[in-house]
């Protein structure tokens, strides 16, 4: 009997797998505090369940089996569903794969994979593309949002489909590979790139500017443009510009004003920004809510502005 089924063999076609992949995009739709992504997972599995189990009781068992607790990163869940498809296909064709195996593979994969998906997608690729798009957008270019949207979704869709297929082909073998070096390397590489880019973003986009004037110094003659000698015609403008090119911004006034910010910048630009960021890291580690910190920073901004510090 078992042999007969195996000979016939029910197999998931590419169409079926595409249907699952498409539905898998709605994985988090019914995210809940009890079993997290279970509803979306079951929703994604339905086309496969319909195909593999013609029998009503088998269908009920399969639906229940796939409504169990599940939670991982929504993209790296794709290889997990690929493997699960392979396991369910084997089971439908009479292989001795029980509920425990399937649930075990799901749970065994979701943990380590979430550990890859979060740093790679949420903490590297999205900040990277987001910062790229945002910096274009801040220049007023519509290319910013378009680039972000298109690049993100191309990467995402390609990832969802190809890793699901890879999981489906590898079947249960993939879970053996999880503890291996490859995933660890991807995570590590992503953290390196991510930390590098975050370092750059802190320098570029966290703006703190200290207003207090440290010194006001009278400059020597010749170190500034003597505006009384500049005539109002084209010749005068030329003379002023020539002097400006030589003297730089400090030559505009007789008094040289140095703000605290300029002193700090001569040490290294963005020093205050990085100090603030590291301080916030500390606070977050002490479980201070990010919202509280954000609101506090607005408070600091207002107070700092009022007393003329910022």
């Amino acid at each position: 009997m078992a042999e007969e089924i195996q000979e016939k063999g029910i197999h998931l076609t590419k169409q079926d797998r595409l249907a699952v992949c498409n539905r898998h995009q709605y994985l988090q739709g019914s995210w809940n505090y009890e079993r997290m992504q279970n509803g979306g997972w079951c929703y994604a599995m339905i086309p496969a369940i319909k195909k593999l189990y013609p029998n009503r009781d088998d269908q009920i068992a399969a639906l229940k089996r796939h409504l169990e607790f599940y939670n991982t990163h929504p993209y790296v869940s794709a290889p997990v569903i690929g493997v699960t498809l392979a396991l369910e296909e084997g089971r439908a064709n009479g292989e001795p794969i029980d509920d425990v195996t399937i649930q075990g593979v799901k749970v065994g994969m979701m943990g380590p994979l979430a550990g890859v998906g979060d740093p790679v997608f949420w903490y590297t690729v999205r900040p990277l593309l987001g910062a790229l798009g945002a910096s274009l957008a801040l220049g007023g270019s519509p290319l910013g949002p378009i680039l972000f949207f298109v690049l993100w979704n191309v990467i995402r869709l390609a990832f969802l489909w190809y890793t699901q297929e890879a999981g489906y082909r590898a079947g249960a073998d993939i879970s053996k590979d999880l503890s291996g070096g490859k995933l660890g390397k991807i995570t590590e590489g992503a953290s390196i790139l991510g930390m590098f880019v975050i370092g750059a973003l802190v320098e570029r986009w966290v703006t703190i500017s200290f207003k207090p004037v440290v010194s006001t110094m009278q400059q020597q003659a010749g170190a500034y443009i003597d505006w009384s000698t500049i005539t109002g015609d084209a010749e005068g403008i030329k003379s002023a510009l020539t002097q400006y090119a030589k003297l730089g911004a400090n030559g505009l006034d007789q008094m040289k004003v140095t703000t605290l910010q300029q002193n700090l910048d001569s040490l290294i630009p963005g020093l205050a920004a990085v100090a603030l960021t590291l301080f916030v890291c500390k606070l977050l580690k002490k479980n201070v809510s990010p919202i509280v910190i954000i609101l506090a920073l607005f408070g600091v901004g207002i107070v700092g502005h009022l007393i003329g510090l910022l």
Partner: protein, 271 residues
């Protein structure tokens, strides 16, 4: 706003709300949501600018496990709508934008609360799915899933629709009533708040091994000729070089210390 604009705004808000939970197409990211709201209300360039500014703040906001980050969806949609209403009501676009950025943060907290409510309601919905499963009712499970997603869409669409009907002069009057020190101070604070998102990212990824790369990125960014793409290339190269060298060191270490991987050292050792 014209009725068509309002309708389109509600659709955009619905998409943003769905994506706020699905996290797939990223319609809830400020860059996308604010641009779309700007587009459908006839203020595309202001929408893009607001989106860019908010995106910088929201870069590190991500839902990890059961923890929920500040809600980018409500923040971007609602602040974009407020900005458009203020501009239509005759406010200065730059001023309207600054204020919208400031109100985005409290809005993201409100959104967080709504998200938690929706996620709790969804618990009841999956119990509905359990019932369907017992009766082999697959269409029923699908229905619950769609209802759950629509609930998340409505989470943003309903507040957005309500905001559309606030009269423009009320928003403008509120803006004008805001004293200068408050808006300037908010601007200063706005320059700092992006560090919170970055700090969240850092805490997630930082190990002793990767801190030097943070330092490198920080100092290299001071060279203003390097664009973000250039910096990305440098970062990627560093990652490959580092992993390659590490692999190399491991192989040599594993092969029984025949060679120290340092030709000069070998010569000296053998001398």
């Amino acid at each position: 706003m014209s009725p068509i604009s309002v309708l389109l705004v509600i659709i955009v808000a619905f998409l943003a709300g769905m994506e706020g939970i699905l996290d797939e197409w990223e319609f809830h990211q400020p860059l996308v949501a604010c641009t779309l709201i700007g587009l459908v209300t006839g203020h595309p360039s202001e929408g893009i600018l607001l989106g860019g500014s908010l995106q910088m703040i929201a870069l590190g906001w991500a839902n990890i496990g059961a923890a929920v980050a500040p809600d980018a969806a409500l923040a971007s949609v609602a602040s974009a709508i407020l900005m458009v209403i203020a501009i239509n009501g005759g406010s200065d676009p730059t001023e309207a934008m600054t204020t919208s950025i400031a109100v985005a943060v409290p809005l993201s907290v409100a959104g967080l609360f709504l998200t938690m409510v929706c996620r709790t309601i969804a618990t009841a919905m999956v119990h509905g799915m359990d019932k369907c499963a017992e009766n082999d009712d697959m269409a029923g499970i699908e229905r619950w899933q769609i209802v759950a997603i629509c609930m998340q869409g409505a989470r943003i669409a309903i507040p957005a629709a309500a905001l559309c009907f606030i009269p423009g002069d009320a928003v403008t009057a509120a803006l004008n009533a805001m004293p200068d020190w408050l808006s300037k101070g908010m601007e200063v604070g706005g320059g700092m708040v992006c560090c919170v998102g970055y700090a969240m990212v850092i805490n997630m990824m930082a190990t002793k091994e990767v801190w030097p790369f943070f330092a490198l990125g920080f100092v290299l960014a001071a060279i203003s000729q390097l664009t973000l793409i250039a910096l990305g290339v440098i970062g990627l190269s560093l990652a490959f070089i580092y992993l390659g060298l590490k692999e190399y060191a491991k192989q040599n270490g594993g092969s029984g210390a025949v060679s120290s991987g340092d030709p000069l050292g070998d010569i000296i050792d053998n001398y």
